[in-house]
Every structure is written in structure tokens, then in C-alpha cells.
Amino acid sequence: MSYFSDIYKGIKTLLTGMSVTGKYFLHSQKGGITQQYPDNRETLKMFERFRGEVVMPHDVNNQHRCTGCQKCELACPNGTIEIIWDRQVDPETGKKKKLIEKHIYHLGMCTMCGLCIEACPTDAIKWAQNYENSVYDRTTLTRVLNKPGSKLMPGVED
């Protein structure tokens, strides 16, 4: 008699499947997942996990958290990051100390692997969620991440 129970089971599973898609159909008007991109440029928000480009956040006093340790430069598999640094006298302690001059990031070479961000001991760099990254001239893809005149945030090294 497994013949008829097979038919019963078959129909039951088919109906289960149809109820799932039926629910989707009824909810599609409210919660479609399509983003109509160029139209909703103003409101479109990317997810937190989206990897647009590497940026270095600065606070209101134009201070960043990069100590110039170069771990990101070493971690990068394609040499995307270049750090130009210098030893300068710290005005507070009077000792000589390594400080960055330029944190150079070549967006054109970056594969968005995220190894630099994981390597950074002071969380000085993070992902930005911008997605319109095309430019007319590739030299504009080379970016200096620390803003001009920015300083190291005090207390980061401790």
C-alpha cells in the first residue's frame, strides 16, 4: 500500500512548497528586495559589511589613530599600502618617536580582502560603504588616508 501513501506524501510536499512561494507572492508588494539603483541614489544605504574602500577615520580635532607601525603595509598581499614615516621629537615627552607623514592607499590595486584592517593593532583604518568608485583618471585612485595636518590621537599607543 505504499503506492497510495507515496501519492499522499507527494501531494503534501508539493502543497507545502506552493504555500511557501505563495507567501512570498503575497508579501512581494511590501518587501521587494530590488533596489532601483540610479533612482534611489540619495536614500540607498549599503550594508555594514559592504567593502567600498579603506578609510582612516578622523575625529573633530583632526586626529587619527594610526601609529605608523606599518603592520598594514606588511599584511597587504599586493602592496597597496605605502607608509611614509619619519622620526620626530614628541613635544610632550621630548623623546624621538615614529610618526606617519602619509598613509598612501592605492584603491586601484586593492582587492578588498580586509587583511590590513584585521592587522591594524589600533583600529586606525576601517571599511567605508561608498560604492560609486569609478573615476576618469586612475591617478585619482591613489589616496592619502591621513588628512593634511592631522595628528596622532593621544593615548592610542598605551
Partner: protein, 354 residues
């Protein structure tokens, strides 16, 4: 020459008063042919759009919404693009059969359209073996597909065509038998009389249990007849490129494409006619306005077509052995049992009549 063209009596009489009989018949036939070609094109284009919209909604997308208001002109634009495309072909194709195949497919679709009772007077050809004619015609369509696959000299196309042959020959049986089950109640094959019988309740109500079974079997095998998913082994994009129409381009491809959708319409409208009272309104609420029948007919057909689209976007494609198992081990024996059951019910007068 006076065929039973009962499309509208007034135009018929008017034409016959104006001209000699032969000429009037010719004009009338041309008119009807044009009307049905228009219906064919409109149905095809509308259904392609509907399918894309419904598919989008099932997948939580939006679907075409750029051309025209909410995308209603999208398929027009697609058709125009296809018309303007070059008709390429393969070098070693059998040219004659290759060019003939699309016409086979659309002509059978058109012939089937002609016998459908859209409303009381809107039926081009009320033949007295209506159902039989429909079953016979719908199996000619497969010849077009076989020809297309064979003549384009492409192994994917040939495999697709062969699968189509296997599938249609098998499922043809179930379509025919499930319709025959209902013929036991009506006692006639003529479509207009089948509709008349349903004035005492739609056949799915009159025949209750076996009618519901017959309807389920008909919908499954009808979906298989039109080569739609989950029975789309014929086209199986992921396995065969595009199946039998791999080598077709431009308008010839569009013919196949439109015919597929018109076939879906035909399968749904046969189900409407046989099971759901064709153009009859539920409980006779618009009895006094016969022309409203067209809307009832199209509405019921639309619901059934939506059901087929629902199948398509829910179920995964069957393997060829599963396809044949389903037909020969399940649908066919059940169908035969169902016929016996229906015969008993009709014999013992257990049908529900209002």
C-alpha cells in the same frame, strides 16, 4: 459554402445582405482570421509580460517596470526588437523543414483557439467533435518541435526535441483520459453543448470527487503538454542551451516563444470550458448580459494560468525517468480508476445538479 461561423450573428447577416454569398463567406473568413491572429498576438505578448511580473513577485523582485506604465509595453518592445533581428541559420540545416517548423507550432495553436467558446456567440468554429479536435490538434504541435530539433542539425536541439516527443506522447494520454472522464457527464463532445450542460452547475461541482481528481490530473498533464517547468526538459536551459529552438533567432524564435504561451492559454481555457463552466457566470449572476461571458471566461482562465505559473516558480525540474514514472505509474492508472468511478457515479445518478 457556409461554415458554422457563429462569431456574431449581426455582422454575419449584414455581410450576407451586402454581397453575393461566396464573397461574403470569404470576407467573413478573412475577418475572423484577422481577429484570431490579433487575439493570438495580444494573448502571447500579455502572457509573457504577466509571466515575468508573476515570476518577479514570487521571487520578491519588481519585474519589468521601465517601458510604459509599470512596464506594460515591455513585451511590445521585445517583440519589436525580435522583428528587427537578423534571421540566422545553421549551414547544414535542412532549410525547408527548418523554416516550416515555427509555422507548424503557431498554426496548431491558432486552430485550437478557433474552437474555444469565449462567450455565447464568440466562437469561430463550433465543431461537433470539439474536445476530440482539441486533443488531436494539440498533439500536432509536437511535430513542429520535433521538426525544429531535427532540422537545425544541432545535438542539443535534437535531444530537446526527442524529449519533447517522449513527454507529449506520454502526457497526451492523461490529458485525453481526464477530459473523457468529464465527457461521461456531458454526453457530448461539442463545446457549446458542454457549456449548456453546465447551466445546472459547473462540471467540477456536478462530478464532485472524480471531477476534482480529473481536474488535478488534467492540470498536471496539461502543464507537461505545454513543456513548462517543472516539465521543461525540452528547453532545460541549464542542460541544453535552449533545447529545440537553440538555432532559431529573430521572429522565428518569437513564434516558438509566443506559441508556448498561447498553448498555456489554450490548456487553461480548455480546463475553464470543461471544469469551470466556460463563460457562464457563477450562480448565473450576469445571465442577462451574455457578452459579459468573455470576461468571465478570461477571468477563470487567468486564475488557472496563474496556477500554472505558481507551479513553474515553485517546483524543480523533473528528470526524464521521474517524468515517465509520474505518467505511467501514477497518473495513467489513477486516471483509469477515476474513469470507472465517474462511470459509476453517472450510472447511479449521484451527480450534484442544481
Amino acid at each position: 459554402m457556409n461554415l458554422s461561423l457563429s462569431i456574431t450573428k449581426n455582422i454575419h447577416d449584414w455581410l450576407f445582405n451586402m454581397m453575393p454569398e461566396t464573397l461574403a463567406s470569404l470576407v467573413e473568413m478573412t475577418l475572423i482570421a484577422l481577429i484570431y491572429l490579433t487575439i493570438f498576438a495580444v494573448i502571447g505578448l500579455f502572457l509573457v509580460l504577466l509571466e515575468r511580473k508573476v515570476a518577479a513577485w514570487f521571487q520578491l523582485r519588481i519585474g519589468p517596470n521601465r517601458v510604459g506604465y509599470h512596464g506594460i509595453l515591455q513585451t511590445m518592445a521585445d517583440a519589436l526588437k525580435l522583428v528587427s533581428k537578423e534571421l540566422t541559420g545553421t549551414v547544414n540545416a535542412d532549410k525547408f523543414l527548418y523554416n516550416l517548423a515555427p509555422y507548424f507550432v503557431i498554426i496548431t495553436a491558432l486552430m485550437a483557439l478557433a474552437v474555444l467558446p469565449f462567450s455565447l456567440e464568440f466562437q469561430a468554429f463550433d465543431i461537433n467533435i470539439g474536445i476530440f479536435f482539441l486533443i488531436a490538434i494539440s498533439s500536432i504541435g509536437v511535430i513542429g518541435i520535433l521538426l525544429a530539433g531535427w532540422s537545425s542539425n544541432n545535438k542539443f536541439a535534437l535531444i530537446g526535441a526527442m524529449r519533447s516527443g517522449v513527454q507529449t506522447i506520454s502526457y497526451e494520454l492523461s490529458v485525453g483520459l481526464s477530459l473523457l472522464t468529464m465527457i461521461l457527464i456531458t454526453g457530448t463532445l461539442q463545446l457549446s453543448e458542454i457549456v449548456e450542460v453546465q447551466r445546472n452547475g459547473w462540471l467540477i461541482v456536478q462530478g464532485h470527487i472524480p471531477a476534482v481528481f480529473a481536474f488535478m490530473i488534467y492540470m498536471i498533464s496539461g502543464t507537461a503538454e505545454t513543456n513548462r517547468a517543472p516539465f521543461d526538459l525540452v528547453e532545460a536551459e541549464s542542460e541544453l542551451g535552449a533545447g529545440f529552438h537553440t538555432e532559431y533567432s529573430g521572429m522565428k524564435f518569437a513564434y516558438f516563444f509566443l506559441a508556448e504561451f498561447v498553448n498555456m492559454f489554450i490548456i487553461a481555457s480548455i480546463a475553464t470550458t470543461i471544469f469551470f463552466g466556460a463563460w457562464l457566470s457563477p450562480f448565473g449572476i450576469t445571465e442577462s448580459l451574455p457578452w459579459l461571458g468573455v470576461f468571465w471566461f478570461l477571468g477563470k482562465t487567468l486564475i488557472l494560468m496563474f496556477l500554472m505559473m505558481w507551479f513553474r516558480w515553485t517546483f524543480p525540474r523533473l528528470r526524464i525517468d521521474q517524468l515517465l514514472t509520474l505518467e505511467w505509474k501514477y497518473l495513467l492508472p489513477l486516471n483509469l480508476m477515476n474513469i470507472v468511478l465517474m462511470a459509476l457515479i453517472v450510472w447511479l445518478n449521484l451527480t450534484i445538479q442544481f
